[in-house]
């Protein structure tokens, strides 16, 4: 009997441990409130939107017709979608790489012996906390072809030929909107990198110095590998930020001149909210979502591998 009890005592925890590996029912119970919010405010609207992408709903009327994949076929043939997709790609590459590189450079600079560090940090980070619409207005005035500070400055220093209608011509409009995007998005990676830099043990640099490593070699083989976790978070957040571009384009150029600076977000918005073409607009939204998921897969996988070590 004692032996049997002992045996049961030994086996029971094993029997109970298996379901506990995944938290058991109680874990799901705790998750129910969050899941309910998730389902009601994300899953249900997303599925509803998916459904509307198969309809010709105008976005206002109480009725609509199911049109199958017609909206998706139209997306493929829409020349503005091609322009918008190209602009999204250019925007993502530029506003991902430039602010990250500049943020890293500024962080390294501010991590050294520089006077007035707190003030400089504040100056570099301030654009990130300004409302985007204010930024759009400020830069809109700066870009004014006749009275804007940029053209005035160019004229002042004798570079009249470089004065341009920055937002009013196809050749410069997108780049002109990217400049404030870079300006406002450099501060955030700078702060993250700065925090990460301060966490690197000084002993690593001392050892590298003893081994005869140059400053460049120290940067490549000590600093950069130590910043790996920061790289992940900075690049992931910047990528998401770049991908969801909408406000700056909408406020500064309204997608123009013509449709030159349309991005997927603004074109989707135009169709859903302005052209009373909600079915087609939601099809564009679905395409954006699918692309976002595909793009985020490498990040999710890398993070999974990182955490499972």
């Amino acid at each position: 009997m004692t032996a049997l009890t002992t045996a049961l005592a030994r086996t029971e925890p094993v029997a109970w441990r298996k379901p506990k590996r995944h938290g058991g029912l109680s874990a799901w119970l705790f998750a129910v409130p969050a899941l309910a919010v998730y389902v009601v405010f994300l899953v249900y609207p997303a599925l509803t939107s998916l459904w509307f992408s198969f309809t010709d709903w105008d976005g206002l009327s109480p009725t609509y017709n199911v049109v199958g994949l017609d909206n998706y076929a139209a997306v493929v043939q829409d020349p503005v979608v091609a322009t918008a997709a190209k602009n999204n790609l250019v925007w993502t590459v530029v506003t991902l790489t430039v602010p990250v590189v500049m943020g890293l450079a500024l962080a390294i600079l501010l991590n050294g012996k520089v006077r007035g560090k707190p003030i400089l940090r504040l100056i570099f980070y301030t654009p990130a906390v300004l409302p985007l619409v204010s930024i759009a207005s400020i830069w809109g005035w700066l870009y004014n072809p006749q009275y804007g500070a940029i053209n005035e400055f160019l004229r002042l220093i004798g570079l009249d030929a470089l004065a341009q209608p920055w937002l009013g011509q196809d050749s410069t409009a997108l780049a002109a909107v990217m400049v404030p995007a870079i300006w406002l998005r450099t501060g955030f990676p700078m702060l993250l990198y700065l925090a990460a830099l301060q966490g690197i043990p000084k002993e690593l640099y001392e050892a590298a110095t003893v081994d005869g490593a140059t400053r460049w070699q120290q940067f490549l083989f000590v600093t950069m590998p130590s910043l790996k976790p920061a790289h992940y978070i900075v690049i992931a957040l910047s990528l998401i930020d770049s991908f969801k571009v909408f406000d700056l384009i909408y406020a500064m150029t309204y997608g123009g001149p013509g449709t030159t600076t349309q991005v997927m977000g603004t074109w989707m918005y135009a169709n859903v909210f302005q052209y009373y073409n909600a079915g087609y607009g939601t099809a564009i939204a679905v395409v954006i979502t699918v692309v976002a998921i595909v793009v985020s897969i490498p990040y999710v996988l890398s993070q999974t591998r990182e955490h499972s070590r």
Binding site: H22, L42, A46, P62, P165, Q169, V286
Partner: protein, 431 residues
């Protein structure tokens, strides 16, 4: 694989899906195809408008006066600044969200039309009968807010668009009288430019402001009858008169008669800049006097206004209608109609400084608004054609603005512009 790894992967996967789903969910409206039921009547109402800072105070005061007599509390919300580019989007979003205003201000034609055809706006025929609006309000204006035979709006403003000039700058360029032909207008532009003055103030952001120039040029080359047919797609745009209008349009930019980089300028900066003396004239309506000239404290005599010369036997001007619609789902439709009735009384219209009222007896006073009073006289002899962003649905209007943009940038020729316009309009008409 450990249990922890599974959980984290699940979490990360879920996070990624959540972010994506959030994007999709946030991008689109939901529940818009719901049934329409009137809410119960309450003592609170909400009015949505796009009055600017210059006039919103006047409206709020009048609404407050009405509230006091009607035992109601009406909140007035405004979204000024973007013209017809953004306001209808906001209104539509509010209506779909189920918290739409009880009544709202809106333009007529193709801008107000979607709210009527989707039955978001109530049929106001019973109220027209009850309050006798049909007898008091300009018949043509009522037609501008009647869609498929349903009176869906009550127009209170019929705006006439013409040239507004800065007298000092015209005098500086030695121009004593307003031009009476298109050739004289071009000559005036040359003189202004020679005097170092930008002739026409216009802005191409959103497309609708610079459109006022092109539609004038089209009226002058095509004439009233053909212009009207072009607007409804009854005649092909691929024709010499349209090509000539686009040729002239491009000429205005090439000769620098419009500001450098006009395509990128914000319309909301144009009229203030004109009043400040940065451009010699602008194409606008009588709101310029009440909203910009009067607040600037400059005397009205510093400015002048004239009908743009078209060289046609009947000289028309561009015009548009604005009015109020009532939410079909509002529980306060009767009260909203009472408020509208109060607003379209001549004394209220005068208090609101509506310089282009549709209501008889609310004409602007010559002593207070002399330039607007001039337009009241001009309107008696000059008919108007529908302003083009009210003539076309928003999508076609935007495509048309793209053509404007392309020709001004030299990407297409006037002939190609005319062809593209025909493709845009015929696709719309066929649909």
């Amino acid at each position: 694989m450990t249990g922890n790894a599974f959980t984290r992967r699940g979490f990360l996967g879920l996070s990624a899906s959540a972010a994506a789903a959030f994007g999709l969910a946030a991008c689109t409206g939901t529940g818009g195809a719901s049934t329409q039921n009137s809410a119960p009547a309450t003592k609170d109402m909400r009015m949505f408008t796009y009055e600017g800072d210059e006039t919103i105070g006047l409206l709020k005061t009048q609404v407050k006066n009405w509230d006091a007599t009607a035992d109601m509390t009406t909140t007035v919300d405004s979204l000024p600044g973007s013209g017809a580019a953004q306001y209808p989007d906001k209104l539509r979003t509010e209506l779909l969200g189920g918290k739409g205003p009880d009544l709202w201000r809106i333009w007529g034609g193709q801008i107000g039309s979607p709210f009527a055809t989707a039955k978001q706006a109530a049929d106001l025929a019973p109220y027209y009968e009850k309050f006798g609006w049909g007898d008091r309000i300009n018949e043509n204006a009522v037609a501008g807010m009647t869609f498929d035979g349903v009176k869906s709006g009550v127009p209170f403003l019929v705006a006439a668009v013409g040239a507004w000039t800065n007298q000092e700058l015209f005098a500086k360029a030695k121009i004593d009288n307003p031009p009476t032909s298109y050739a004289e207008l071009e000559e005036a532009n040359d003189r202004l430019l020679a005097a170092g003055i930008t002739p026409l103030g216009t802005g191409g952001k959103y497309g609708w402001h610079i459109m006022r120039l092109f539609e004038y040029l089209l009226e002058s080359t095509a004439g009233p009858e053909l212009h009207d047919k072009l607007l409804v797609g009854a005649e092909s745009w691929d024709r010499p008169e349209v090509v000539e209008a686009f040729t002239r349009f491009k000429k205005w930019q090439d000769k620098k008669w419009i500001p450098e980089g006009a395509l990128g300028l914000d319309p909301s900066d144009i009229e203030p800049a004109f009043v400040q003396g940065k451009t010699a004239y602008t194409i606008a309506g009588t709101w310029v006097e009440a909203a910009f000239i009067v607040p600037s404290k400059k005397p009205a005599s510093d400015f002048s206004t004239f009908l743009l010369p078209t060289d046609q036997s009947v000289v028309r001007h561009s015009g548009f209608v604005e009015g109020y619609m009532i939410n079909a789902n509002s529980g306060n439709k009767d009260k909203a109609a009472e408020l509208i009735d109060f607003i379209v009384k001549p004394e209220t219209q005068k208090a609101l400084q509506n310089t282009s009222s549709t209501v008889t007896g609310a004409e602007p006073e010559k002593s207070k608004l002399p330039l607007s009073a001039e337009w009241a006289e001009i309107n008696k002899t000059s008919p108007f054609y529908t302003i083009q962003d009210q003539a076309f649905p928003k999508k076609q209007a935007d495509q048309y603005f793209t053509v404007q943009s392309d020709i001004l940038q030299g990407k297409i020729t006037p002939a190609e512009s005319a062809k593209q316009m025909q493709e845009i309009i015929s696709a719309w008409v066929q649909k």
